[in-house]
C-alpha cells in the first residue's frame, strides 16, 4: 500500500512553492491542506482539506486552526507531513510528529534575512528541517538542500 503524505501550505506564496515540489510526491498517496477552498480542484485527483488562516497575533484564530488541523491529522493519519508554512503547517508538523509521522519543513524562500517564526518554532518537530537560503543554514540545522527557485 502507498504511504500517505499530508501536504500543507497556506494560500499564496507558500502554496506556489509547494506546487513546484509536486513531482516529489508522485509515488505517494497525497492529501493537500490549504487556507483557500478554491484550490481543491487544482490538486485533483488528490484529496484536499481547507483550514482557517491565522497568524500569531490571533490567539482565538490560532486555537481554532490548531483544532481543525488536529482533526485533519487524526482523520488522514499520514506517514509523512510536509509544509512550506505558515501557521497551518506548523500545527500539521506538531500533530503529525506526535502521532508518529515523519515530518519535513521547508522554510519559505520569502524568508531571506531570517527563518520564519513558524520555521524556528517547528525545529523540534521537524525530522527534516530545511531553509531555502544557504546563508541561513546552520550546523545543527536548518539545512540547505536546494530551493524551489
Amino acid at each position: 500500500m502507498k504511504k500517505k503524505i499530508l501536504i500543507v501550505a497556506s494560500f499564496g506564496g507558500h502554496w506556489v512553492q509547494m506546487r513546484r515540489l509536486a513531482y516529489a510526491f508522485e509515488e505517494l498517496d497525497q492529501h493537500y491542506v490549504s487556507t483557500n477552498v478554491c484550490l481543491a480542484d487544482s490538486v485533483l485527483p488528490a484529496s484536499f482539506s481547507v483550514v482557517p488562516d491565522a497568524n500569531l497575533d490571533e490567539k482565538l484564530g490560532l486555537a481554532f486552526l490548531a483544532l481543525k488541523m488536529l482533526w485533519v491529522v487524526i482523520i488522514i493519519r499520514p506517514d509523512f507531513v510536509i509544509s512550506t508554512g505558515a501557521a497551518p503547517g506548523f500545527f500539521a508538523l506538531v500533530f503529525g510528529k506526535l502521532l508518529g509521522a515523519k515530518t519535513i519543513w521547508i522554510d519559505s524562500c520569502a524568508n531571506i534575512d531570517q527563518l520564519s517564526v513558524s520555521g524556528s518554532k517547528v525545529k523540534y518537530f521537524a525530522d527534516l528541517w530545511l531553509t531555502q537560503w544557504e546563508h541561513l543554514a546552520g550546523e545543527e540545522g536548518p539545512f540547505f538542500r536546494g530551493s524551489v527557485l
Partner: protein, 161 residues
C-alpha cells in the same frame, strides 16, 4: 493589459494611486487592479477588491505586464512563466507592512531579467513606460536547486518507508 496585484491582507494606497495616475496619462493602456484592502478607488483603471485564484490566474496570463507588491506568490509565478514584472516593495515606514522584508525580498530578485524593482514611487511611471522584457530566467543553475530539493524529499521518503 497590465495587471496590478497587491495581495489580500493589507492596503497599498501608494502603489494604486501612482498606477491610476499613470493610467490617466496613458489612456491607450488597459489596467486592471486587484485592490485587496486598499481604500482608494481608481478612476482610470478597472479594479476588483478580490479575485478568486482561477480569475487571478486568468488575469496573470492575459496580461503582458504584472505590477505587484513584493509578494512571493506573484514573484514565483512570474519567474516560472517568464512574465515581465515590476515589483514595488511595501515599506514599514509608510505603514504598508509590519516590517521591511519586502525590500529584502525584492532586492534578491532584481537580477532576474524579467523583473524590475521600483523602490521610489516617483520612478514607477518610467518603469511602466519602459517595462522589463521577458528573459530566459529559469537557467540551469535554478533548475539544479529545484532538482536538488525534490531529490532530498524523495530520499527522505524512501529512507523512512
Amino acid at each position: 493589459m497590465i495587471f496590478v496585484t497587491v495581495g489580500t491582507q493589507l492596503p497599498f494606497e501608494r502603489l494604486v494611486r501612482a498606477v491610476d495616475e499613470w493610467a490617466g496619462n496613458n489612456k491607450d493602456k488597459t489596467v486592471f487592479i486587484q485592490l485587496g484592502q486598499t481604500f482608494f478607488r481608481p478612476s482610470n483603471c478597472e479594479f476588483s477588491a478580490f479575485t478568486d485564484p482561477a480569475y487571478w490566474d486568468q488575469l496573470f496570463h492575459e496580461s503582458e505586464l504584472i505590477v505587484s507588491h513584493a509578494g512571493m506568490g506573484t514573484i514565483l509565478k512570474s519567474i516560472e512563466h517568464d512574465k515581465p514584472l515590476i515589483l514595488v516593495p511595501r515599506l514599514a515606514s509608510l505603514g504598508e507592512h509590519r516590517n521591511d522584508h519586502q525590500v529584502a525580498t525584492a532586492s534578491k530578485f532584481g537580477n532576474y531579467l524579467n523583473i524590475k524593482v521600483v523602490n521610489e514611487i516617483v520612478d514607477l511611471p518610467r518603469a511602466l513606460d519602459c517595462p522589463p522584457a521577458n528573459g530566459h530566467v529559469l537557467g540551469q543553475e535554478k533548475n539544479v536547486n529545484l532538482e536538488m530539493l525534490i531529490g532530498e524529499i524523495k530520499k527522505f521518503v524512501s529512507d523512512n518507508s
